[in-house]
């Protein structure tokens, strides 16, 4: 009788500890999934900041850069496409990547226009854009870090059991696009 009681108590203890552990694990996975959503939210906020800056940037530079209208036109078109609601995440990622390249190209072209470079309005816009780009890069790195942690937690045991039970699935990372602004090295451009 005593042995049976002890066995029941041990089984009960194992059950309680096991259940507690699984609940904690489930909560941790949910927290990590929420962190991904949070990181994605900050990417969207920074993209919006970038989109908002573009009209001012275009109006500021077009009076100086008559011969670079293709680049300006491309940036405007990409911005309009990026603001569409029915875009898939992958398509949006592609458009934003193209926009980054177009903006980089524009900043290199600006080097040929000293008056524009010296304009106070343009300097402020350029600084704001640099900041947004770096914040965007930071939020993407945060997103990737959150996705990695989440994926690790649902692909390893016993997280994979919880994932199968509650239908958690792996998330995709952003393509590594480390975008950091440096002062343009005009000398190296002339060397090429």
């Amino acid at each position: 009788m005593l042995i049976a009681t002890i066995a029941v108590i041990i089984a009960l203890a194992i059950f309680i500890i096991g259940t507690g552990y699984l609940v904690a694990l489930y909560n941790r996975i949910v927290r990590r999934e929420n962190e991904i959503d949070n990181a994605y939210g900050s990417i969207e906020a920074n993209l919006k900041k970038r989109h908002d800056l573009i009209p001012n940037l275009i109006s500021s530079v077009k009076q100086y850069m008559d011969y670079e209208s293709d680049t300006l036109q491309q940036i405007v078109e990409l911005r309009n496409m990026a603001r569409s609601d029915d875009l898939s995440t992958k398509k949006q990622e592609e458009i934003e990547s193209q926009m980054t390249q177009a903006l980089d190209k524009l900043m290199v072209q600006v080097e040929d226009y000293p008056d524009l470079k010296a304009s106070e309005n343009f300097i402020q816009l350029q600084q704001s854009l640099n900041e947004v780009e770096e914040q965007l890069s930071a939020s993407r790195r945060f997103f990737n870090s959150a996705v990695k942690q989440f994926n690790d937690s649902i692909e390893t045991f016993p997280g994979n059991v919880i994932a199968a039970l509650f239908d958690f699935s792996s998330r995709e990372m952003f393509n590594a696009e480390v975008h950091e602004h440096k002062t343009p090295d005009v000398g190296s451009l002339l060397d090429n």
Binding site: E35, A39, S42, Q124, Q126, Q127, S128, N130, E131, E134, Q135, S137, A138, S139, R141, F142, S145, A146, Q149, V178, E180, H181, K182, T183
Partner: protein, 374 residues
């Protein structure tokens, strides 16, 4: 930034005369007088007192003689006391001379070196950062009971405002004993004599000595970001043999979360904490991470960083005082090499140390102003 060659020229033309004058004005500083010499005098007088006491009888008899104003016991005690007071006076005078020399050295030599580096720099030997400010930066390895800071230098390098000072942080006795127990359990120090334990306790009470550097950061941010070495040897400036690495005490509130960055080498050297994951990565861009790694490798020191209020705070541990003349510490601890005191090379080292600290702005590219910092 000034080069060493420029400084050597300045030294030849201006500073050398000041050094010579300082040496000439303080000849007693360079004598071999040490504390143990005065202790010998004191001990000798006590031995004489004991011998005289034995010769002239038991204490009660002696007291009776004193009460009657008898000679010679009363005058013997007076003589011994006078000898003791005189020896103490000489010792005190020696300490005062050294303190005055230290002050003169800082004002005349270090002040000149700082002025040579640029008129935009100011130097105050007695000023430092407030203890609260140091503790609030989360940057010390653990909470300090007392923080002494002096030798405050401030100015501008390019577009970046900087300031730095020397700090010495000491632990509270409770923390001290805890660290002492943790770090020395395996060494059997608990079996040591009480005097040795007291010596150890004295040594570990000073747990951090180094430079506290603050620079205006080139990006604007709201979050607090903290970078700490994964392990830190708390008393490495005292004794390499007894130094034990210990995990840095977290002492962080719940608003801090650990940040995992992409660089595995940096991750193994430092722990990163922040109140905002995204801003942490905004501050610690991949270029910044590389710069931190390069700077750590170059200094080969365990550094503490804190990014707060759009400023970068950094502590660099140093075993020596960067602003003090060596004579003060060396002559009291061990046999000083008198022929080598205040020679040219030593003066050049002072310049190089300060120049290195000013170079941090370039090392971390803080003069690049392409972000819209308000």
């Amino acid at each position: 930034m000034k080069s060493l060659d420029e400084f050597k020229q300045f030294y030849r033309e201006e500073l050398q005369e000041n050094v010579k004058k300082l040496r000439k004005d303080n000849p007693n500083i360079f004598t071999r007088l040490e504390i143990k010499d005065f202790l010998k005098i004191d001990l000798s007088t006590l031995i004489i007192a004991a011998i005289l006491f034995m010769i002239f009888g038991i204490p009660i008899v002696g007291l009776l003689w004193i009460s009657k104003g008898s000679f010679p016991f009363f005058w013997t005690i007076i003589g011994v006391l006078t000898s003791h007071i005189v020896s103490r006076g000489i010792l005190q005078n020696n300490f005062q001379e050294k303190a005055q020399f230290k002050t003169a050295f800082k004002q005349q030599i270090m002040g000149s070196i700082i002025r040579f580096l640029g008129n935009q720099f100011s130097y105050n030997p007695t000023e430092g950062l407030a203890k609260e400010k140091l503790n609030d930066s989360f940057i010390l390895p653990r909470k300090a009971k007392g923080v002494k800071s002096e030798d405050y230098v401030s100015g501008t390098v390019g577009d970046t405002d900087i300031s730095f000072c020397e700090i010495i942080a000491s632990a509270s006795m409770v923390e001290e004993r805890k660290v002492y127990q943790i770090s020395n359990e395996q060494k059997g120090f608990q079996k040591m004599s009480r005097s040795m334990l007291a010596k150890m306790r004295h040594e570990i009470s000073e747990f951090y000595r180094g430079i506290y550097f603050v620079a205006d950061f080139h990006k604007s941010f709201q979050a607090n970001v903290l970078i700490r070495p994964t392990e830190f040897t708390w008393n490495d400036h005292h004794n390499e043999e007894t130094a034990e690495p210990y995990k840095v005490n977290k002492r962080l509130d719940d608003s801090f979360e650990q940040v995992h960055l992409e660089d595995p080498v940096l991750e193994s050297t430092y722990n990163f904490y922040s109140t905002d994951q995204q801003e942490a990565r905004y501050i610690l861009s991949t270029t910044m991470m590389e710069r931190i790694k390069q700077f750590s490798n170059r200094t080969n020191k365990k550094l503490f960083f804190c990014f707060k209020n759009s400023s970068m705070h950094l502590t660099i541990p140093y075993k020596k005082d960067l602003f003090d003349p060596d004579i003060l510490s060396e002559s009291l601890r061990q046999e000083p090499d008198l022929s080598n005191i205040l020679n040219n090379e030593e003066i050049f080292t002072y310049f190089q140390d300060i120049n290195f600290l000013l170079g941090i702005v370039e090392d971390f590219n803080l003069n690049t102003r392409i972000w819209s910092k308000t």
